[in-house]
Symmetry: C2
Subunit: 179 residues, 2 copies
């Protein structure tokens, strides 16, 4: 749960990071930014701000903004409505993001995770501006920004965030804002 003031402050900060990365954000887009705290009320640690450009039945494109060391918790996009589930490509625009997916665990991963977090996949990919990676449907993944935060473009099939399956049972994907 976020207060309205917390949401608005995060949206303003994320907008500044997007603009710093050379991305135009309209006033309407800033107002509509999705600030997710995943129900943990620890936004600085676990959270994500999302600018959705388009999300139709066939195509979705977004910018993801992560504050310094902010992380998006482990999840997968399961099959639905006869589709294999969401396929997504991340391309780093600014800063650095460490992406963890299924595969051989990386011996000394760069991420710092909270002691009570639930993370089961540790195959690390470090993405800097110009680097990108495609995550197949229904594949576990999570990611954390580096010390300067990150702006990451996401190109995907339809987003149905309500269907995402998180490893940590405490997570609630739909943002709730009080007040």
């Amino acid at each position: 749960m976020l207060t309205r003031a917390e949401r608005d402050a995060a949206a303003e900060r994320a907008t500044a990071m997007l603009r710093e990365a050379g991305i135009t954000v309209t006033t309407d887009e800033q107002a509509a930014l999705e600030v997710a705290d995943f129900g943990l009320s620890r936004l600085e640690e676990t959270g994500l701000t999302v600018l959705v450009y388009v999300n139709t039945e066939r195509v979705c494109a977004k910018e993801l903004v992560l504050f310094p060391r902010q992380l998006c918790p482990e999840h997968r996009h399961p099959p639905f409505a006869g589709t294999p589930g969401k396929e997504e490509t991340f391309r780093c625009r600014a800063g650095r993001v460490c992406l963890y997916t299924e595969g051989e665990p990386t011996p000394s991963p760069a991420a710092r995770v909270p002691a009570d977090g639930v993370f089961t996949v540790w195959h690390e990919l470090v993405l800097e501006p110009g680097d990108q990676h495609t995550i197949p449907p229904d594949t576990l993944h999570w990611f954390q920004a580096g010390d300067d935060g990150a702006v990451v473009s996401e190109f995907s099939t339809q987003s149905r965030d309500d269907l995402d399956v998180f490893t940590d049972p405490r997570i609630e994907r739909a943002p709730r804002v009080s007040g």
Copy 2:
């Protein structure tokens, strides 16, 4: 038909425009840029440079670079393989692009087209940074940059350029480079 030198010069110029727009382009990406002259050998007038980020069976994302007043000729993306055809969203990143689609013709359109060109749809949308528009499948459209050129992100379903249907029968979509 383009010479290798023409292709490389256009790729270098487009890379500079992308970087000016804040977009990181790797050396490999510059080498792989698609410079299309649509078979007319009038690249400055009719042409397009394309950076393809990803193009799978389900999702495609690209940057389109247009030099000042350069135009992409009228075409549509027809149904194929049981799909309705390519659905695409254009989002202007830098410069200005005038997009023409099916609909009420705009009385005094901003575009300047060659006398021998074939253009049948004249419903104008002017996109500047932060503006975007989604084009449904199988819908005629064409576009031209303003005086300073344009960088435009395209988010779409799979691109099958080989299936595009151009109104002008002289057009060849696949770039050919000599030498």
